[in-house]
Each structure stands twice: as structure tokens, then as C-alpha cells.
Symmetry: C2
Subunit: 425 residues, 2 copies
């Protein structure tokens, strides 16, 4: 199948590109290197020594005999080039990873919020508009997030996208399937809830076929393909913006830093191994929706854990101690999470569990590359909440949020000026 | 009250600015003249001879003794200037009209779709981000649309924003208030459903106070203030993109053209007179939500009518005959519409009905300025549906949709190349 992968140089995009290429698909990558530029901005590098894309692609060619094409363009900005590419390649599937994907990064400052909204909304909309304008019948496989659902389920099991509800009508209660009422926890998550509305509209109005993969937190760094050669190695982020919770624990353990848990650690989140993530993308690509079918939504996760339990697991493996810190996010201190994920299992996904493979991650990545770690990047530096106006509290030692264009540099503990001004539901 | 009106030179923005100024508020206008530029692009002028904003403001100063400030900037693009303005003016209310507001315009071509998404989403998000960054506690009054609800109610009365639903939980059915499940009918309407998600997020996360006014189709051209002097006259659009259905009927009648009804005319829509619209904006500005209150949503409409009944009403008043044409929109041929609008009535709104005032509109506007009408602008030229790929049907005489940058020039009847490829719900 001809598959175009938007954002194919990124953390999920790169291993997905290799996995699909290895699976016999004719893969082309589009990327604007936004993720590598964020490394420069944040002065935070991948722990693993990732290579330039050209070197990655040459190594893949050498090892597999397979060619992956590359087109450098910005999906959110370069619409004419994107359109031309679709007309020329006529991809049967477009895998869309071309979005800013870190919640903390999206909350750093106005500039980061605005970048995230502008990039993510225009990228998704450009893909949809270009499909319609080019007249191709490409299936869009989009990386969504479990975060569209929010975490305040209160006993309601999270379905795969559509929730059956009852509403009052003239003649009694009627049942309807609706998109699960969104409850995003950051600007980043908000953009993914806005994406859903664009998919629903273009699906209804223009018949565009879409599979939206609401992914949990990815753990693991390598896949069968990226392990083949160090030149193919995938990125491992451990900084406060892009590093996911498990990576941060592993890294902290590897360098002898305590495992920092924000809040009580009672937050329950959904997880999936990177290897399973790329398999899910493959399953979605190879099982497109029928023409006329509504947007297909899968929950791309395999297990749920409380963060404190994850910390304990890593602590048992490594001996690191656990430290509880105030939570910079505006979120509930604890929650249950019941998630439906039957569809991908029915397509044949066989999950890799944390228990199976976490130790390998400790030795293969965290310990092996610990010498490359920059300890300064470990604290979380983004704040979720609005600064209190000056007249309410005395001037702080440093601002909770600075004007656009400068980075926030708060400690792990919330500055005195910041407080939660909104109620959490 | 210090009120900043974004889009204050437009069809709703201008009379709202005058109305709030007349009501004793300290009004400042922001505009980028996008609506006047669309006139140039579409080669379609307001039927009424609207004056440049400088002349409008000078006339208002002369007549009322009141000053309205003007700041020329693009809310979607000029974030630093917007932020500076908020810091300097510290408005207590920001009325946000700065969005591309025509559904047909938003569907003309990829370029128009992309402009509408980019402008509307970034404008709304910039306002919210600037409020948070500036630390002001301004109440956002946003012009939404009844179109967020869609028209497929099927016996479910449209509430004011929030729908009470029942969903299944671990221990039986639970009730929740959710945002009414959106069902936008165009890219324009879609952006307003995306706006809602941004309001909900910034309200929850940062405590930003928002009133979202889901407005029906506005009819009427003048208000008590715009009638004072011809230099204050409001715009009247009758072209296929910006002209609303009633304006188009009135204009057609005035020049002896049949009243063109798309489809069966069985579509039921919600209406409100412009004078009531500006009063509603005033009521919203003067009754801000409490701190910590969720986004307040009002349905800003006063009556519902089937389009065919409107055509009959105009026909009776003017003697024009009615002509049924194929519908270029991808929508149901008929629908019921039951809308809750109690909140604005409870705040004191006393509606002007079509029966009260439509005849004045015929004589004061349509007949008086009929000599300025460009008959070429009457047909609706935008198509809602996706062109069929070339191999399905023979080449058409002209394209249903052309590449970005050129305008669609189809007849009122759908070109042979276009067909509905998606099912309507």
C-alpha cells in the first residue's frame, strides 16, 4: 500500500515508518523537523543518540534493501506543496503524526499555546482540505490521545470514541451515539478534541475516511526495526516537557535521582508499548473503514496504572526512592479509569505488558545511555494555571508565566504567584 | 463599562458598537477590514452605501458627542499588538465578532476553507491567550451560531448550550450536562464548534468568563442608531455568499427576480432582528457570569420559520413569484426546530417579529437602494460537496471546485461533476 507518513521523523513517526516499510508498504515521509528544533529551543536532547534523517534512511536502505522517500515540508504551512505531493503520490493511507504532541510544552507560555493551536489545527485541516481538493480517496490514520476523554469518568467506562446516551425528546427518551463529551486537560489535548470535529465534518460532508487512534502514554523506546542498528535508534525524551512519566522515572533511577511523583500519584493513566503502538498503526492502515462509514475510533492502549504504582515498580527494579512533589497541573488528585479497547485486540493486537519488558528498557536505554543525561532537564517546568493579578499577592521572586517569546523557568514547586483559579469538575 | 469590540466594522459589530456607545459604555473598536476586503474579492458590494469607518466614527461623534476609539489590527495574526491593547485598555468586556461568518464563503474552495479555519480558530485562541497573559479579568462575549447544533433534532428540543443526558455507569445510569453534541453543516459552522471547546478549556483551566451567543439568522439592516444619519448606515448583503436568506428574498422581490428557494424550502431556521441582536449583546455585556461560573450559553433567536413560509410572506408583500432550485448544500430537505431561548427573554429582551417590521425593511432598504443592486450577484455559487473524480463522469463544462486562489463560478444549479458523496444523518 502507498502510505504517506506526516511527522515520520518523530518519536512515533519514525518507528511507524520503519515498521510499515518492513511490512511491505511503500512508505514516504513528510517532516519539517519541528521536534528536532524543539530540542534546540529547550536545550534538551534525546538521551539516545538519534541520527539525522538522511543517515537514518540510508541505514535502512542498506539494512533492508527498502527505500523510504522523504519530502521536507510543513504540513500546517505549506499547503500548495502538500496538495502537489498528494496529487503526485496518490497515497492510499496518510498517517498523520504532524502535531505538537507534548501537553507541558503546550502550556509553557502564550507563544507555546498559540504555536500548538496554530500548528495542530492547520495541519489537520490542511490534510483534509488537500484530500478533498486532490480528489484522492486516501484513508487518514490520525494519532489522537486518550486525553480527549479527560479523566473524570466517575464510573462511566470510556468507550471507543462514541458514547451511547439517552436524551429527552418530545415523545420520551431517545438513544443516540455521540462523540464522548471531551474534557481536555491542556491546550495540546484541546487541539485533539478540535481535530475530532474536523474529522467528523469532513467525513460527513465529503466522505473522507478516517481512523482516529486515541493513544495512551507510550513507553519503551525501541521496536524490532529500530533495534537493528544504532543508526536507526529512536528518541528517548526525559525532560519535563517531552519526557513521559515512565521515561522520567527510568532516567531518574539511572542517575540516582529520586522518582518525582506530582501530587499523590493517585492519577490513573493508560499505557501502551511503542512496539504495540506501531502495530496498531499498521492494523489501522491495513483495515480502512468502508466508504460511507463514520470516523472509526480506536483506543490505542493496553493497560492502566496509577502513577504511584509505576513509581513503585521502577523503585523495586532499581532501588530508587520516591519523592512526592506538588502537582503543576490543574487536575484531580486521583481517578479511576476504565477503558474499552476491544477493537484493536480483535484485529489481532497482542499486548506487551510493563511486566514483560520494562526491565529491558532499564538496561537497554536508561543505564546504557545514562552518561548522556543532562540532570538539569529532569524537573517539570511548565505550569498549568493562571497567574494571580498583582494586587492579590505580593510580587513573586519570579513569574509563573512570562511574556511570549521567553521560557518559563519555575522550579518543580509552583511559584507563590500561581494558584488554581478555576474549579475542577 | 470599558468594552472592546473585535470586528466592530462588520454587519453585527458596527450596530453593536453604536448601541453600546449610546448605552453609555466606553467603546473601542478593533477591525482589520476583512469584510470590506471580501467585497473586493467577490466584486459584491453592500446594497446600502456604507461609509469608511473613519467617516462613520466622525459622524457618530458629531451626532452623539461620544467618542469610539479605533485600533486597526488583525486579531488572528497580530498577537503582540492585541496583547498590548488589552494591557493598555484593560477592557471589562471583549465582544468577539472577529470571525469569517459566511457558511457559503467558507465552502467556496480549499483556500476559503483554510482561511476560515485559520482566521477563526486563531482569532478566538489569541483573545483567550491574551486575556490569560495580560492578567485582566475581561468577560468574553462571543458571537456563536445556532448552526453548532445542526438541524437534525428529531424531536429533541435544542437547549441553551448544555444538554442533560443519561449515560451508563458502573452502578446504573447517571445524568450529566454536556455541551450539545455538535453537528456543523459547513466549515464556518465547524469553527464555531471548535471555538466552544476553547472556551470550555480556558474557562475550566484559567477561569476566563465567557458568554457564547448562539445566534440565529439575522434579518433587518438598521438599528435606532444606524438610522440616525445615512453616514451611519449598516451593510446589507444580498450576494450568494454573505447575503442571508431573507435579504436575498427582499432583494429579488425589489428587482423583479423570482424568490429562489433551495431544495423544498422545508428547512426550518431560527431568526432574530438585528435590533434584537445588538440588545442581546448589550444584555450579555451587562450581565457577566460570576467568577468560577461555567461558560454561559444563550440562544440568540426569537422565532423559527420554514424557508418556504418566509418566501410566501415576502411574496405576499411584494407580489414576487417563488422558484424552487436544487440545493447546493449537503443538508436534510426538511426539519423541525424547537429551540429554548428563555435566558435572554428573562433578562428583558422584547422581540421584534418579522410580522412587525418586515415591511419597513422592504421599503426602507430593498426598494430604496434597489438601483445599486448587481443582479449577477443573486445566484448562490458555492457548493458544499466534493467533486467526483474525473474517471467517474465525463468532464464538466466548468469545475465544481477550482484550485485554491481562484473563485468558483458555477450556476445556481449544481454542475454535473458534483454529487453528494456522504450520507446525511
Amino acid at each position: 500500500m502507498r502510505v504517506l507518513i506526516l511527522g515520520g521523523d518523530g518519536f512515533c513517526g519514525w518507528p511507524a515508518s520503519l515498521h510499515l516499510s518492513a511490512g511491505g508498504h511503500d512508505v514516504a515521509i513528510v517532516d519539517n523537523f519541528a521536534r528536532r528544533r524543539a530540542d534546540v529551543e529547550l536545550e534538551a536532547e534525546s538521551l539516545t543518540p538519534i541520527r539525522p534523517l538522511g543517515e537514518r534512511l540510508a541505514a535502512w536502505r542498506e539494512l533492508s534493501g527498502r527505500e523510504i522517500a522523504f519530502h521536507r515540508l510543513d504540513v500546517a504551512q505549506d499547503y500548495p506543496e502538500l496538495l502537489e505531493l498528494l496529487v503526485e503520490l496518490r497515497p492510499e493511507a496518510i498517517v498523520h503524526f504532524a502535531e505538537q504532541r507534548a501537553a507541558p510544552y503546550s502550556m509553557k507560555s502564550s507563544r507555546h499555546k498559540r504555536y500548538t493551536v496554530n500548528n495542530n489545527i492547520n495541519a489537520t485541516h490542511n490534510v483534509l482540505a488537500a484530500i478533498v481538493e486532490s480528489g484522492i480517496d486516501a484513508h487518514v490514520v490520525h494519532l489522537g490521545t486518550m486525553g480527549v476523554y479527560g479523566y473524570g469518568g466517575a464510573g462511566v467506562k470510556i468507550p471507543e470514541g462514541y458514547l451511547r446516551v439517552r436524551m429527552e425528546a418530545d415523545d420520551g427518551w431517545v438513544e443516540r451515539d455521540i462523540l464522548f463529551p471531551p474534557s481536555p486537560g491542556s491546550v495540546y489535548h484541546m487541539t485533539k478534541t478540535q481535530d475530532q470535529l474536523m474529522f467528523a465534518f469532513y467525513n460527513k460532508n465529503d466522505g473522507v475516511r478516517v481512523t482516529d487512534l486515541h493513544q495512551g502514554i507510550v513507553w519503551g523506546t525501541q521496536t524490532a526495526q529500530t533495534r537493528l542498528d544504532e543508526r536507526l535508534i529512536n528518541r528517548f525524551d526525559y525532560d519535563g516537557d517531552y519526557g513521559t512519566v515512565l521515561n522520567r522515572f527510568l532516567m531518574q533511577a539511572a542517575i540516582g535521582h529520586p522518582l518525582t511523583v506530582h501530587g499523590t500519584g493517585g492519577q490513573t493513566r493508560a499505557f501502551i508499548h511503542l512496539e504495540d503502538s506501531v502495530r496498531c498503526v499498521q492494523l489501522a492502515v491495513e483495515h480502512p473503514p468502508e466508504r460511507g462509514e463514520r470516523v472509526r475510533i480506536f483506543n490505542q492502549m493496553t493497560e492502566t496504572h496509577r502513577l504511584i504504582d509505576l513509581a513503585k515498580l521502577v523503585s523495586q527494579m532499581t532501588g530508587a526512592r520516591i519523592e512526592l512533589l506538588p502537582n503543576p497541573r490543574n487536575e484531580a488528585s486521583g481517578n479511576d479509569l476504565h477503558v474499552e479497547n476491544r477493537q484493536l485486540l480483535e484485529l489481532g493486537l497482542q499486548p506487551i505488558t510493563l511486566e514483560d519488558d520494562l526491565l529491558r528498557e532499564v538496561t537497554e536505554i536508561a543505564e546504557r545511555y545514562a552518561h548522556r543525561c543532562d540532570r538539569d532537564k529532569i524537573p517539570a517546568r511548565s505550569l498549568w494555571v493562571r497567574p494571580v493579578p498583582d494586587h492579590d499577592v505580593p510580587a513573586p521572586p519570579h513569574d509563573a508565566e512570562r511574556p511570549a517569546g521567553r521560557l518559563v523557568a519555575a522550579d518543580d514547586s509552583p511559584p507563590r504567584r500561581a494558584r488554581v483559579t478555576a474549579s475542577t469538575p
